[in-house]
Amino acid sequence: MSKITGTTKVITGNHAVSYGALLSRVQVISAYPITPQTQIVEELSEFVADGVLPARFINVESEHSAMSACIGASAAGARAFTATSSQGLALMHEMLHWAAGSRLPIVLANVNRAMAPPWNIWTDQTDSLSQRDTGWLQVYCESNQEVLDSVIFSFKISEQVLLPSMLVLDAFVLSHTYEPVEIYPQQRVDEFLPPYDPKFTLRPSEEGTMGGLSAPDTYFEFRYKIQQAMEKAIALLPKEGELFGEILGRRYGLVEEFLLEDADTVLVTSGALTSTAKFAVHRLRQEKKKKVGVLKMRYFRPFPFETVRKILKGRKRVAVLDRNLSFGHGGIWSSEIKSALYPLKDRPPVYGYVLGLGGRDVTPKDILEIISDAEHRDELDMPEIIWKGVKK
């Protein structure tokens, strides 16, 4: 067997997830196959079968059960992990609430895939974004390295704030695309991520029940405490991102700023689309000397209000790219950005572009056209949705 950790490998995004789980020393994995996630658990099965990863792997009969198994395992104090996509995530929905309400630091990798029908297996963020209110942290990844890093990072955060984390990667664009990924030496990861020491757990021969019926006199406060945990995460994330950088070499923030110093036009992106935007913006800067930059959103929940306001305050215009759609409303990121900016006096106009649904390709040319479109819009010409690429 070749060396598994402490090396750089050219691997797919799916396998980056697997390696992230391996390095995180997950103890219980439970999953159900679904395209395009399947490779994640295939690789993990191999790790477990080979004894490389001393974990229990539960091959369940549905995603609902996969999440339930993780919940049980996590309640028993184990570090639990699962991966899914689209329909699978939707099927898990009930248990996503359960995991968060039980304050269990489970980590889930969701490969963004469009919701059926009609059947579609390509990238689209609607599956994960529609889990907005389940109490999960959500982090969107741009590269396979970020995918691996986010698995480790998510456990670190989740186990401190006692909320589950979902890391999101694009179907095929990341999941099935090979990139060089540094697979850290285990001891360095261990330095960053200590073993899970559960605060509330099922300890044999000790009394205590988890999740008993709570009347209106306490339920409200339990919800309040989840919100407090989210706010704690906002404060914790940059610090842990720094620490991650110190120990493992890559710093992470709530967001990533790309060529923003002097930018008057800001593209707000998430996921793999960011790379395309960066490429286009970089070319535009070089060729047309336009002051354009990219704000890559990493965390959707908790939403980094302060950071977004600080960055976007005073810009001339903001264009938000949404590879998702909340029917009857619009692009989800754009509405989040708009609500974040609302308290600002000198808030920039926010143009929301819905594009690339169901894996429709988004090219640098599309990005350039969006920038151009935004530049030519009247300040108040802000329809809820600006369709990009739809054949009307």
Binding site: A76, G211, L213
Partner: protein
């Protein structure tokens, strides 16, 4: 054939097989005469303290206590309606890697959470031979929500969704047969009036590995429309009239009938409960026929295993 002592008692402290250990606190919120709460008490006595339990939505959700109280002396995790079996499997996996490989994990679900909504997870856990004990306390309808029919509701019964004008017209799902078809190590039926049989089965299950299932008939006085003091009596009559045979299935194939009562007319059982009071003589006759057929089937399965139907304990008492 294994000798079974059923309810071998009357003598002075006769319940020697039954642990004095209490794993349930009084003060819980079960209705008067609740069979489910007694079932829980008896099962947890037999399983002992090194047990972790999970309960999906069901009456027991409340019986185990509302926050910040609990009525159990073992740790317990509340889980969603359809997930008892898999949550238990997850807990088992978690405990194993956490250094508690010997802890018994008990999934404790009602008939709705087992026969109906939790059926997929149950089947999955059974098929994978997850190392858990699943006890379905069957009160034959959705009692917690107010007596709606489930696939465990017997033919002819009144529920709030099968009114007397149109009572339940489908037979009770053969959950034991279905579980046995999964070829799991152990499936057994048990009920409250036969606590020694119940205890023996729970302890036997505890000593086995893999997926173990106990179908435990737990009368519900409000749901069965009967007086609260008749819980044990109705449980006993279910067995004595043969509508609920006490038997076990090992590895999906070895059927053993634990007790062959002389049999009593099914009316003895039906008449204890208001949920059957609308039945016509013809309908009762039909139920009797079904009971007889079922009984013959279980006897036949026992015969196939043991080559004889002789030697089945013929008494449930003393």
């Amino acid at each position: 054939m294994e000798k079974t002592s059923l309810n071998h008692r009357v003598d002075t402290f006769t319940w020697k097989e039954i642990d004095e250990l209490e794993n349930v606190y009084p003060g819980h919120l079960a209705c008067q005469g609740c069979g489910a709460s007694l079932a829980m008490r008896l099962v947890l006595k037999a399983l002992g303290s090194n047990t972790v339990m999970t309960v999906p939505a069901c009456c027991s959700t409340l019986i185990v206590g509302t926050f910040p109280y609990h009525s159990l002396k073992v740790p317990m995790f509340h889980t969603a309606f359809e997930t008892a079996a898999i949550t238990a499997a997850g807990i088992k996996a978690g405990l194993s890697v956490r250094g508690y490989p010997d802890t018994t994990v008990l999934a404790w679900g009602g008939d709705g959470g087992t026969f109906d909504i939790g059926f997929a997870a149950l089947s999955g856990a059974a098929e994978r031979n997850e190392d858990i004990i699943y006890v379905c306390y069957d009160n034959e309808a959705y009692m917690n929500t107010g007596i709606q029919r489930s696939s465990a509701t017997p033919w002819g019964a009144w529920t709030t969704t099968t009114p007397e004008r149109h009572p339940e017209d489908k037979p009770k799902k053969d959950i034991v047969g279905i579980l046995a078809a999964h070829r799991v190590p152990y499936v057994a039926t048990a009920t409250l009036a036969y606590p020694q049989d119940l205890t023996r089965k729970v302890k036997k299950a505890k000593d086995l590995k893999g997926f173990r299932f106990i179908h435990l008939l737990a009368p519900c006085p409000p749901g069965w429309r009967m007086e609260s003091e008749l819980t044990i009596l109705s449980s006993r009559l279910a067995v004595e009239t043969r509508i609920f045979p006490l038997y076990e299935v090992e590895n999906g194939k070895r059927y053993t009938l634990n007790y062959a009562p002389k049999g009593r007319p099914i009316t003895d059982y039906l008449s204890t409960q208001g949920r059957f009071k609308h039945l016509t003589p013809e309908q009762i006759h039909y139920i009797q026929q079904c009971v007889d057929e079922n009984w013959a089937e279980v006897m036949e399965k026992h015969r196939l295993t043991h080559r004889t139907t002789e030697g089945i304990p013929a008494s449930g008492y003393q």
